[in-house]
Symmetry: C2
Subunit: 207 residues, 2 copies
DNA sequence: GTCTATACTCTGATAGAC
DNA sequence: GTCTATCAGAGTATAGAC
């Protein structure tokens, strides 16, 4: 083994800090250029480290990206996991919508990293999409279906209802350049989106 | 000048056919990997031509991409241009929605090429977004605002209403891998989306 | 018009001094 | 732990034979 982190010894504080710096720089670069379009030189420059030093902390470009992917899916699914079958139907869905929009606003780079991966055919995440993601969505879709059957919300195809929340919230992060180009300077896209999407889903969900 | 197409002489039929073959292959490759992530080797292989032969028809990788971008924006804006201020408000918006969804279904590669460009910060299209696109959207937003003022449709922020149509329809092309992973084999995403989005916008637009 | 060969640059990764 | 130097391979583009 050429370096410390490949062994089981715990990382020193400086190692942890540098690994975090690298991952943050990699998030910046990968989220804008995709995996193939990004270079170690770019990541090294953003991180303020030399290229060989990057490869002291991670064995390869692939390993850096894999580490980002591993934490990404969890971050991404967390808001949906929190949807509570025992809560008030409309309130639960509206809360999920709000959490997703906040995720777009506060973590746009993560959103774009995810979008890049999916756009490119999800080569490093397909298994997780067909496994973990699908299982979770099916589970929550069943909850939505039960709420509709009980007359608590409108009767809509639950999977597409979930897709619509994803599409509408992630759009503001992934297409941010376009949104800002169209709206100009004097707008607060996320504040406006919150009001608009609130109205949209209240109308949509009304039985 | 090293080759014919840089001069003003009209292209021969074989030249036009080869240029089209190359552009189609480039669309396939660029839409999946982005500009930096794509290579001339990949495009040449998909096109069934040698790499130097590619560069006989186009002066550079950049030129191929630029040609695709030039036609893309027009294709992309066409459905919105067709929104008629003198037509029936709800019918016009629903027709626009349908045209956009058909565009996603029939031209998913174009949708992903566009998404890649925007995700990467629109380095080759920013001017067009702030110019041509913004002008068109502002014009149609005024139409929507007038319809709302006349009580023909619900009073909603027109720009965000347009964004929602973009987000919801393009999602099915750009995130197709995820949609299929979640839905599994026994679904027709676009057929279902058409019904769902139809319901969604009828509810939303009702005054 | 199309191909082979090749020039030159960029990129991921390693060696080895300090 | 971090750096300079460097290698091997991939990538864009060109030269020149046919």
């Amino acid at each position: 083994m050429a370096n410390g982190q490949a062994e089981d010894r715990p990382l020193t504080r400086i190692q942890q800090k540098n690994r975090q710096t690298i991952l943050d720089a990699a998030l910046e670069v990968f989220s804008q250029n995709g995996f193939r379009g990004s270079t170690l030189d770019q990541i090294a420059e953003v991180a303020g480290l030399s290229k060989p030093n990057l490869l002291y902390y991670f064995p390869s470009k692939d390993a850096i990206h894999a580490q980002l992917m591993a934490t990404l899916l969890d971050t991404w699914l967390h808001p949906l996991r929190a949807l509570d079958a025992d809560g008030d139907p409309v309130a639960e869905i509206m809360a999920y919508l709000r959490r997703k929009l906040e995720l777009s606003r506060d973590f746009p780079r993560e959103s774009r990293l995810f979008a890049n991966e999916i756009l490119q055919g999800a080569p490093r995440m397909k298994a997780a999409l067909e496994g973990e993601l699908r299982t979770l969505v099916d589970e929550k879709a069943a909850v939505l279906r039960a709420w509709a059957a009980a007359g608590k919300i409108a009767d809509l195809p639950p999977h597409h209802l979930i897709f619509s929340i994803w599409a509408l919230t992630q759009h503001y992060a992934d297409f941010e350049v376009q949104v800002r180009a169209v709206l100009g300077e004097d707008h607060d896209p996320y504040a406006e989106a919150q009001g608009f999407l609130d109205t949209l889903f209240r109308k949509l969900l009304a039985p």
